[in-house]
């Protein structure tokens, strides 16, 4: 009997071994698949956490912005420092009243199916977006466009309801105003209901796709601009950051690009190993806390100012971000248009923070850990997205920092939707509220400050000059005079800074980690773009 059982056991073990061994051949990635004796293709493999989506240029989730940017292009491009550069439009003129923008389109642009990009197809795209205005209400550009005309084969004019100065910046957005080829339109023309195929003018064409597994982009043979040096980009969908790191170390991935794709610990480990190349972009966004001027102790300006002085931001940068982000003193980095205002930063000064609180009547009784005023404890709620490890680490660090000045900080980590709900309801004392980055900043974020469903509005709702701030925001968006705009922005941003309704912590960046055989990696001012045109594999 024992012999037979031993035999069964042996067979079992062999079967397990067979399963393991049978797969061993498939473990390595094929960097450059052979091409029937021709020169091997240059294939760059990157990874993303979510599926790239259906790549409808006129819609949003679940399409991923970097992938939409691979395939579709805009009339103009957003360059460093907010300069607007020609792209599909060679040049443009603006009527004296600021209401008519006339764009002369490039004449050498073709879609990936070989058809021409011209004024008619451009108008068709604008019309499809405008037919779905409700969905794009968040974007003031769409609200302000009255209509679009094709003047001739390569000229279009956009008619605005009011002069709207950020029009060019918003035309550079990745979505929703980019251009789908005629053959990609559904029969009824309503791209809001879906598209037939992702046909764009961009440098890449979607060649192969398996939902939630991978997407393969190849070069657009009709591309009018600088041709990419690599032949193919494979986007592998890997939801877990640690798996992504191991796949990278095993050379199954060539490049990790973006923010939040791997933990900062992993980034530090890869950087310090010396085996790979790493890069950090210029500041792109601001990680900030909104302090609610309409709720609890943060109603008081003195408390808000004390909270500003009570944070050692550099320690957060060094210990939580490992130097991958830059200390933020203002809501918007000075490199953004109209934002270089020379505002005086709130320096880290624990004693000053304590003095401000004492002066405001928040006293620390002997033997007590936290301050009180008229029997009320100085207790605040900091809300964060529980799935966001960086927010959690920052929240815990702040809890320790504020304890030093006698402020009790309660941490409330919740799922994304509940967290969003708090932003909307104003149900917070402090809440994480990042800026949006280029090309939205500062105008789009400032515009959203007027909308009650935003944390910005809720945080500012208790300010005595809120109505005036909103009025100035209305003015700045419609102003045609640059100097006037600068003055208006100075008022808005200086007031918010003085009132201390934002606690800027760090300027967010993109990171890039890549193998040493990869060259030409660079960053774009827009956070969601992955510029691969200059990338090469040696």
């Amino acid at each position: 009997m024992m012999k037979r059982l031993k035999k069964i056991s042996l067979i079992s073990m062999l079967l397990i071994l067979a399963i393991a061994i049978s797969g061993c051949g498939g473990g390595t990635s094929s960097k450059a698949p052979s091409d029937n004796g021709q020169q091997a293709e240059k294939v760059l493999t990157i990874s993303w956490a979510q599926d790239v989506g259906n790549l409808n240029p006129h819609l949003y989730s679940p399409s991923q912005m970097f992938a939409q940017d691979f395939v579709y292009e805009s009339l103009v491009e957003y360059g460093e420092g907010g300069t607007i550069k020609p792209h599909l439009a060679e040049n443009w003129t603006i009527s004296p009243d600021g209401k008519v923008y006339t764009f002369n389109l490039r004449q050498d642009v073709k879609f990936s199916d070989g058809t021409e990009f011209n004024a008619m197809v451009a108008k068709k795209n604008f019309d499809a977006v405008l037919a779905n205005r409700d969905r794009h209400k968040w974007l003031e550009l769409v609200n302000q466009i009255d209509g679009v005309n094709a003047v001739d084969e390569y000229t279009i004019e956009i008619i605005f309801k009011n002069p709207y100065y950020p029009a060019l910046q918003e035309l550079s957005l990745i979505r929703p105003l980019r251009f789908l080829g005629d053959a990609g339109f559904p029969d009824n023309g309503k791209t809001s209901e879906g598209i037939k195929a992702p046909i764009g003018t961009g440098p890449w064409v979607l060649e192969d796709y398996k939902q939630n597994e991978y997407a393969v982009f190849v070069k657009n043979q009709y591309y009018w601009g600088a041709k990419p040096k690599i032949d193919k980009v494979v986007v592998k969908i890997i939801p877990d950051g640690e798996t992504r790191v191991i796949a990278f170390e095993k050379q199954e991935i060539d490049l990790i690009f973006g923010s939040g794709l791997i933990s900062l610990d992993s980034f530090r480990q890869l950087r310090d190993s010396g085996k790979y190349q790493t890069m950090i972009s210029n500041p792109l966004t601001t990680q900030a806390l909104a302090l609610n001027s309409n709720r609890g102790p943060t109603k008081e300006q003195a408390v808000r100012v004390a909270l500003q002085h009570g944070v050692n931001k550099q320690a957060l940068i060094d210990n939580i971000f490992y130097g991958t982000e830059v200390k933020a003193d203002t809501l918007f980095s000075p490199q953004f248009p109209y934002c270089d205002l020379g505002l005086q930063p709130y320096a880290y000064n624990v004693e000053k923070a304590k003095t401000i609180l004492e002066s405001a009547g928040w006293v620390l009784k002997a033997g007590q850990e936290f301050r009180e005023k008229n029997g009320q404890l100085l207790e605040l709620e900091l809300c964060f997205d529980s799935a966001n490890n960086v927010q959690k680490a920052l929240a815990e660090a702040l809890q320790g920092e504020y304890r030093k000045i006698g402020v009790k900080l309660n941490l409330i980590g919740e799922e994304r939707q509940s967290y969003n709900q708090r932003q909307k309801d104003g149900n917070f004392n402090l809440i994480f509220n990042d800026t949006w980055g280029a090309p939205y900043d500062p105008h789009s974020l400032v515009s959203s400050m007027r909308v009650p469903s935003h944390a910005d509005y809720q945080a500012q709702a208790g300010l005595p000059m809120k109505a005036e701030i909103d009025a100035k925001i209305n003015e700045v968006l419609l102003s045609t005079d640059k100097k006037e705009r600068q003055d208006l922005y100075r008022y808005i941003l200086s007031t918010l800074h003085e009132q201390a309704v934002y606690l800027p912590l760090s300027h967010g960046t993109n990171i890039a980690v890549f193998h040493k055989n990869i060259t030409g990696v660079s960053f774009d001012p827009q956070k969601n773009r992955i510029p691969l045109v200059n990338v090469d594999i040696k």
């Binding site: 059982l5 797969g23 409700d134 794009h136 877990d240 798996t243 191991i246």
Partner: protein, 312 residues
């Protein structure tokens, strides 16, 4: 036997109805308004007007009981509505992802059987020997290791250091090895112990003594009588484990980027994609119930006392 199966199937109807009601009510208890979630996921600002329109569109303005019956009527026709995120039919998406999860679970099951049966049998036969102690250590370690950690350890050693297997994704049989092993090891450890205990109990039964007295060979006694009896509690537990594996492959699928239902539901939960969550809960509940039915049938086949009511 047919009557036994028919009775069990009939008894499933109220269970499934109860599950559907519970699923529906639990979703209603979530504090966030599905209409607002829908709007946010569609990138439409959730103004009061837009919320009102969406509530009407989604039927959320109707009385709760009416919403339930409308939902149930569609569910019976396998219509779970459209995903808030992808705008695709939920049933189609579930069926798209389910085969991958099924494949992973089936592979895990094979590994569980291949590990736990020989180890469980031998550790019982060689009770208190070094082999038994090793199996015990394996069981403790296997049962106590969290799957995400085990997954990373296996990937680190077998993929990164030894370069034997791919790190992630689906493709060749090799891609299946690590996720299936990760999913299987915890259960294999538990079943090894369970089978060992069950074997020992049966080895001490009088029928074994009688069989030996009748001169039957030990091999025959163990394989035909002891193992067959010892498998009954294991098979019962197996039904539940299989359900857990199907529903609980979430972490493993995320770690190994395995494109199954687990990954689908994780992103749906984060997005509060209610139609998907509702469908998933119901789908998995039905899986559990059906697996239990299958287990009951197998137990009935293994042990006539069960199918005949236990009194004969």
């Amino acid at each position: 036997m047919e009557r036994f199966i028919v009775n069990r199937i009939i008894s499933l109807v109220p269970v499934l109805l109860g599950i559907s009601l519970l699923t529906f009510i639990l979703i209603q208890l979530v504090p966030v308004d599905p209409a607002e979630v829908y709007l946010r996921l569609s990138q439409i600002p959730p103004t009061d007007e837009a919320v009102a329109v969406t509530r009407a569109e989604l039927g959320l303005d109707k009385p709760l009981y009416q919403q339930y019956f409308d939902w149930l009527r569609k569910v019976v026709q396998l219509d779970f509505g459209l995903s808030f995120v992808t705008k695709e039919p939920v049933m189609e998406e579930l069926l798209y992802y389910f085969p991958a999860t099924l494949k992973l679970t089936a592979a895990s099951l094979v590994i569980v059987l291949l590990i736990s049966i020989p180890l469980g049998v031998f550790s019982a036969l060689y009770k208190d020997t070094a082999f038994d102690q090793m199996c015990r250590i394996f069981a403790f370690i296997g049962a106590s290791m969290p799957s995400f950690w085990l997954g990373f350890v296996l990937v680190y050693i077998l993929s990164l250091k030894l370069d034997l297997l791919p790190v992630y994704g689906r493709g060749t049989l090799a891609h299946l090895v690590l996720p299936a092993t990760t999913l299987a090891l915890g259960s294999a450890a538990v079943y090894t112990r369970l089978l060992r205990t069950s074997m020992l109990e049966n080895l001490n039964q009088n029928f074994v003594l009688y069989a030996k007295a009748r001169g039957l060979k030990e091999r025959l006694i163990v394989v035909r009588y002891v193992l067959k009896n010892a498998l009954i509690p294991v098979v019962i537990a197996f039904g539940m484990t299989l359900g857990h594996m199907l529903a609980g492959s979430v972490i493993v699928e995320n770690v190994f980027a395995w494109p199954g239902v687990g990954r689908y539901i994780v992103s749906s939960i984060f997005n509060r994609d209610y139609p998907v969550i509702q469908a998933y809960v119901l789908f998995m509940a039905v899986n559990f119930v059906l697996l239990n039915l299958i287990v009951d049938i197998i137990c009935g086949l293994l042990d006539p006392r069960i199918r005949l009511g236990g009194d004969r």
